[in-house]
Each structure stands twice: as C-alpha cells, then as structure tokens.
C-alpha cells in the first residue's frame, strides 16, 4: 500500500497515462461498436451490399482506432516523462 502511495506521490505521469489510455479505449470501443452495429444492420437490410459495407466499415474502424492510438502514443510519452 505504501508502495502504491509512494509511486503516486513521486510522479503523476503513469496515473495520467493509465487514465488517458483507458478513456481512449472507451471512446474507441464506443466508436467501433457503433460502426460494427450499423454495418451489421446495413448488411441485414441489403445483403448484396456486403462487400461495399465491409470495406467501408474496415476503413472507418481504422480511423477510430487511429485516434485511440494517438492517445496511446501520448500516454506512452506521459509515462516516460
């Protein structure tokens, strides 16, 4: 317990990094979930558009993931400082 307290008092960097990376993961989870849900809906409605929807969904998922990874990189930087 005193160990944890020591780490917290000595530097806030790891704490901020952890919270930041966690929030980014929450955001990315919501984003990718929405994309996946809507893509599944679209495919159920129009099965013939499967390929177009899949391609678009992958691209948008990569966008969302990219933003989450920006946050991960910043979290890494915060942890190092």
């Amino acid at each position: 317990m005193s160990n944890l307290l020591n780490i917290l008092l000595e530097s806030w960097g790891p704490l901020g990094a952890g919270i930041g990376a966690g929030l980014a993961a929450v955001g990315a989870g919501i984003g990718v979930g929405l994309i996946g849900g809507k893509a599944a809906e679209g495919i159920a409605r129009q099965p013939e558009a499967l390929n177009a929807i899949r391609g678009t969904a992958i691209i948008f998922a990569a966008f969302v993931e990219g933003v989450a990874l920006f946050a991960a990189v910043i979290a890494l930087l915060a942890m190092g400082s």
Partner: protein, 394 residues
C-alpha cells in the same frame, strides 16, 4: 485427405514443441542479461527492477546497433561514423559491447550508453551536470552546422531491415515481371505471379480507380503499388521475431514520416487549379471568410498526411509493445505461478496477438494506400469535367 491430416498433425506437433520450449526457456532464463541479481523486496531495488523491465520493451522496439539473437549472442552490424574534419570511421558493433575496462571507452574515444553513442574529448569520460558525457553527440536535424556533432550513418537494425525489404521486393517483382515478359499477359498466371497478380489487381481496381478515376489513375498506380507492398512487407518482416526480420521498421516515426511526406509532395506537385482554388480562394463567399477558409483548408491539407504518419507508426508500435508486454508478463508472474503454466498461457496469447498483427499489418498498408489515393484523387480532380459527367448521368 490423408495428406492434409498428416500436415495438420505435424503443424500441431511443431506448435506444442515450440510451446514447451518457450515455457522451459521462460523458467530457466533471466529476462534481462544486464540486470542485477534477484531484486529484494526493498523499495529502492524493486523500483530499479521495474524500470529495467519497462526499458526492455522500449529497447526492443527501438533502433539498435546490433541484432540480439538469444542471451549473449548477437548479429553484429557495421557502424559508420563521420566526424567532420577527421573523416569516416567504420567498425563492427561488437566493439560496443567490449569497452575498455579502465576508461569505459570504445576505440579510445566512443562512449556508448543506453543505445546512444557519444564521442568524448581528451580520452577520458567526463559528465556534465545533467549526466551527459561532455563531447560530441550524434547530429539531429537542429544541429546542422554545429561543430559538436558527428554524423552517424551506421547500418543499424532498422537500416538493415529496410535494405532487406528492398531486396525482397526487387527479387519478387523482377521475377513476376519476367514471368509476364516470358508468358505474355494473355496466358494464365502461375505461382508467384498468380499470387501477386490478384493483389496488384486489388490495388488497381479497389483503390486506384475508385478514388483517382478511370482517366488519371495510371500515372499514380506505380506509386500506390510501391507504398502498398513496401509497407506491407515491412510490417510482415517486423513480425518475424528472429534475426533477418524483427527490426521495427514501419513502427519507426522517421519511416512513416518519409512516406507521408512523399504523399504530400504528390498532392503539391499534381494538385490542379480546381483543387488549389478551393483551398486558397474559396469561390462564392466573402473575403474575410475566404481568408479564414484558406487557413483552415491549408491546415487540413497538411494534417491528412500527418494523421497517416501517426496512424501507421502508432498501430505497428502498439502491436509490438502488446506482444512484448504479453511475453514480458511471463517473467513478471513466473515466480507466483510457475514458469511452465504461465509460459503456456502467454505463448497462446502472444500467438493470438501475432495473428491479429498479421491482419493489422495488411489493413494498415491498405489504409495508407487508400488514403493516399483519396488525397491524390481530390488534388487531381477537374471541376468542369465532373459537372459534365453529372450532366451526362442525368
């Protein structure tokens, strides 16, 4: 059917042997050959140990002068140091690991610490008040013209990985091109040519034509194919954990920076009047708004390749860190549960991560190429033609 069954069995056997070997390795070997003896529970040494562990992961994704194989075995790569006024100095990175025991220096003037190389003056090591050695350091972009630098153009891990990927691409595509020359484009493709043809056609039909347009895609297709295969092969080589691969090339920000800059240059060079008109002097609005929009649009032109750069770098780096962390978990938890059981768990997890990274490597190459095609497509679009096309469609 029998053949497939046999193949499956052999593969499964190899997998379990690998698992067992890895678990045994986890039980017996020390994760960090440089670390001090077992840390005690005292706070100071414990912290030291956790710091070393973190450093180790970052160390494996960073660039280095030699390839670690296992334990104390390395593949040595040449260092090429250019010191202004004194000329080139070429030596093997093996010497970095055997510094002079009394002075701590290599070849009488180099000092090597935590992946950084320094040249110290006067033949003995002096530290300044920040703990950096006094002398020359490797030149950065901001140091050009300074006299306290040397230029480090060594064949490092990343340089080696880059050269290897170039050689592989040349071998693959020259043989494919020869196959087309020999057999012509009318006969069915065979072997390597067959494998490559489907991917090349995918880049052409699903990336270049939809985003750049039927008329203009041909000029940009070679560039799109080049970056696609270059990024992909570097992603794949980065996933090979042992010597020829294992350099984290596409997870290096300099690599992605150069690729994104090339894409931006294409936009600058081939951008049409229509494109620049809509950026610098937006038609149909009043002058203050025109100026505001010009600033906004210029930022957006530069921010797109910036996002490309960060996306590729962060994806690949995050993947490597994840795999390293899962493998590193073996060494952290082994004293609690026992090396073999945690070794099996982490091996399975890291195998899954490797499969995921194979997918991510291909998707990131696809995304980078696609967004580049989109940028180029927006830049070369001609306003009037589009109106005509629309009119024809109606």
């Amino acid at each position: 059917m029998d053949r497939i069954n046999l193949k499956n069995r052999i593969l499964t056997a190899v997998f379990w042997v690998f698992l067992g070997a890895f678990s045994a390795f986890a039980q017996h070997s020390d994760p960090n050959p440089h670390s001090e003896p077992t840390p005690t529970e005292e706070t100071g040494e414990h912290k030291e140990h956790s710091k070393e562990g973190k450093f180790d992961v970052m160390h494996h994704i960073a660039d280095d002068y030699s390839f670690p194989l296992a334990g104390d075995y390395y593949v040595w790569l040449p260092l090429i140091i250019f010191e202004p006024g004194k000329g080139f100095d070429v030596f093997l990175s093996k010497e970095l690991h055997n510094p002079d025991p009394t002075t701590g220096l290599i070849r009488g003037k180099y000092y090597y610490n935590h992946g950084k190389l320094f040249i110290v003056e006067g033949g003995h090591l002096q530290l300044d008040d920040k703990g950096h050695p006094i002398g020359k350091h490797s030149a950065k972009l901001t140091d050009i013209g300074s006299s306290h630098v040397f230029y480090d153009i060594s064949i490092t891990k990343n340089t080696f990985g880059l050269l290897l990927s170039v050689v592989l691409l040349l071998v693959i595509f020259i043989s494919v091109a020869r196959a087309y020359k020999k057999r012509g484009t009318d006969t069915a493709p065979r072997g390597l040519q067959n494998a490559m043809e489907s991917i090349i056609l995918f880049v052409k039909n699903d990336i270049a034509i939809p985003f750049i347009g039927e008329k203009k895609y041909a000029k940009f297709l070679p560039y799109l194919l080049t970056i696609f295969f270059f990024i992909w092969i570097n992603n794949l080589l980065g996933l090979i954990p042992i010597f020829p691969g294992g350099a984290n090339v596409s997870g290096n920000i300099a690599f992605t920076f150069v690729l994104a800059t090339l894409s931006l240059l294409l936009v600058f060079i081939f951008g049409k009047k229509h494109f620049w008109g809509h950026i610098l002097w937006y038609p149909g609005v009043n002058v203050p708004l025109k100026i505001f929009l010009a600033v906004l649009e210029l930022v957006s032109v530069v921010s797109k390749p910036f996002a490309l750069m960060i996306r590729l770098f962060a994806n690949i780096t995050a993947g490597h860190i994840l795999i390293m962390s899962i493998i590193g978990m073996t060494f952290m938890v082994k004293s609690l549960i026992g090396g073999v059981s945690i070794g099996i768990v982490t091996s399975l997890f890291s195998a899954l991560m490797f499969v995921l990274e194979l997918l991510v490597g291909a998707i990131q190459a696809y995304i980078f190429t696609l967004l580049t095609a989109q940028m180029i497509g927006a830049a070369v679009e001609e306003g009037h033609e589009e109106h005509k096309e629309h009119a024809a469609a109606h």
